[in-house]
Amino acid sequence: MTPSAPAKWGLRSLAFGYLGLLLLAPVGMIFYKTFENGLAAPWEAMTSPEAIHSIQLTLLMVAVAVPLNTIFGVGCALLLVRRRWWGNAWIDGIINLPFAVSPIVVGLSLFLLYGNDGWFGPTLTEWGIQVLFSWPGMVLASIFVSLPFVVREVVPVLHEIGTEQEQAASTLGANGWQTFWRVTLPAIRWGVAYGIVLTTARVLGEFGAVTIVSGRITGETETLPLFVARAFEQFNEEAAYAGAIVLALLALTTLLLMSVGSRRAKSSSAPIPAGTEVPVAASTTKEGS
């Protein structure tokens, strides 16, 4: 059934209106507020030592958590799709845990585990490793909350491409490693790229879990979202808006890098598997958490 012209335009306006009101208006307001009085004020706010440190710390979170979750995610997806064994049902369920648990709860549980009365806390302190109120704890929290994205993106793509290309590679003499790099990875690259974008967005924006494990020490364990929150709480609106803009720009940069990277990996007109158009949607998640 084809909808009539008025119905079609009605639906379109509804979709645009809804998105505009819920997404574009708030984001647009932040841009407007930040640059209302020119570039000088936001520039000054973001070049203070605390601001720069928070940006660096946030990038460190991304630099550690995203590669680890990508490697784990692709490996885990391969295990789930290509090997059939009883443990898969369990792994499949456990992977979703970070989606189900509130980040605050994640922070609390890490606190319990690595605190002075926790299971691992005393031993690690003995070895001289400080997890809580320090970057290792924050990295753990970031990994936890962003764990499922790559797996969830790659699993359906692996199902879709099937096993025949991999079997063809093996009959042509390729070993498992060669097959993975030359056949499987190029075939799932869009899923991986989208998973990386989502993971990065999640790590960049992570607030709840990191709040608890970091102890929010200004200039030491303060990530960019924590910086924004503190600036806001202290009525330093300029710094808060400027910080938010930087966060948004970082997420957009990831998106762009991934699109360019994946496109360069292959420049044909081949139909691109699910996940291509989705990076647009990813930008809507960046303010999440």
């Binding site: 025949e164 093996s170 009959t171 075939a187």
Partner: protein, 325 residues
């Protein structure tokens, strides 16, 4: 030499895909594995390629026991029904894949790939991607890719199954000619008896995980070992205990002690050949293959009573084959 499979068994859950299968494929021959779906023919082919592990039994390729050799080391060329093209690589990249794995140098790869693309008549399309090719072109690309590494044996799993009738026929002829030039031991799987008889020198008829009979097309057609082979290889009518080929069925207008009465239900003219469908008095539906001239001489019409006389019939009592009539 060639390929020998001994006592192959393979079970998937409750389903016995291969049940004590042994076949012998002579060196340099072109053999068809023929059977209905679920007969185990594809499983057998995949077991020869090393893509499926047998529960028991052995696979010997050119005198070497390959039963425990992984697919990667068996040096077989495998062509899949749905091409299994590497979608992110050009036609050149696809064909060069095995050579790059074997670390050939660039110039040699270039020459070899173009030699093969010439052979499969795709030379102008080296820079295309698989999704810019037709089905027939994709399958020829897949064949070139499999042949590039000079495999000891070539295995094709329903290679023409996904193509339309015209392309199918062309590729059939073309595969036949290619084999005459290359002489690489080739096995191909098909459910189409006409295709098998057209292309292969030797046929292996499979059913329910077992080999029913193997031999040349003529042997199978003239001396089928059982009812299954007789009805799967060629057309057949069943008259009680007897099986009659439609072209061994004479239609006459006057009854005698050897004829059976039937009513002409439908007359279908297929060019030179005419298909006359009759219903016998006991309700059995049979058909006879006549020539145009015979039809004109008999002046048959639909709805008319005619008499059938089998010229040659077979019955299978146990394993014994007796010629009746």
């Amino acid at each position: 030499m060639g390929i020998a499979v001994e006592g192959a068994r393979k079970r998937f859950g409750d389903f016995q895909a291969l049940d004590d299968v042994s076949i012998d494929v002579p060196d340099g021959s072109l053999t068809a594995l023929l059977g209905p779906s679920g007969s185990g023919k594809s499983t057998l082919l995949r077991a020869i390629a090393g893509l499926e592990e047998l529960d028991s039994g052995t696979v010997v390729i050119n005198g070497k026991d390959a039963t425990r050799t992984p697919a990667q080391k068996r040096e077989v060329g495998f062509v899949f029904q749905h091409y299994a093209a590497f979608k992110h690589m050009t036609v050149f990249g696809n064909v060069a894949f095995g050579l790059r794995i074997r670390k050939w140098d660039k110039a040699k790869i270039h020459d070899r790939v173009h030699e093969l693309l010439n052979l499969v008549q795709l030379d102008g399309l080296a820079e295309r991607y698989p999704d810019q090719l037709s089905g027939g072109q994709r399958q020829r690309m897949a064949l070139a890719r499999a042949l590039a590494v000079e495999p000891q044996v070539l295995l094709l799993d329903e290679p023409f199954g996904a193509l339309d009738a015209k392309v199918r026929k062309d590729l059939r002829t073309w595969l036949r000619r290619l084999h005459d030039e290359m002489h690489v031991t080739t096995i191909f799987v098909t459910h189409d008896q006409e295709e098998a008889m057209d292309v292969a020198e030797q046929l292996v008829v499979m059913n329910q995980g077992r080999v029913e009979q193997s031999g040349s097309a003529d042997e199978l057609y003239e001396h089928p070992a059982n009812e299954f082979v007789m009805s799967f290889v060629g057309e057949v009518n069943r008259l009680g205990e007897h099986f009659v080929r439609p072209h061994d069925m004479e239609v006459v207008l006057d009854p005698d002690e050897r004829t059976q009465e039937g009513m002409v239900q439908r007359i279908v003219t297929l060019g030179f050949e005419v298909r006359v469908e009759l219903v016998l008095s006991d309700g059995t539906e049979v058909w006879a293959q006549l020539t145009r001239a015979e039809l004109q001489r008999l002046e048959l019409r639909e709805g008319q009573i005619a008499y059938l006389r089998p010229i040659q019939a077979k019955s299978f009592n146990g394993s014994e084959l007796t010629a009746a009539v």
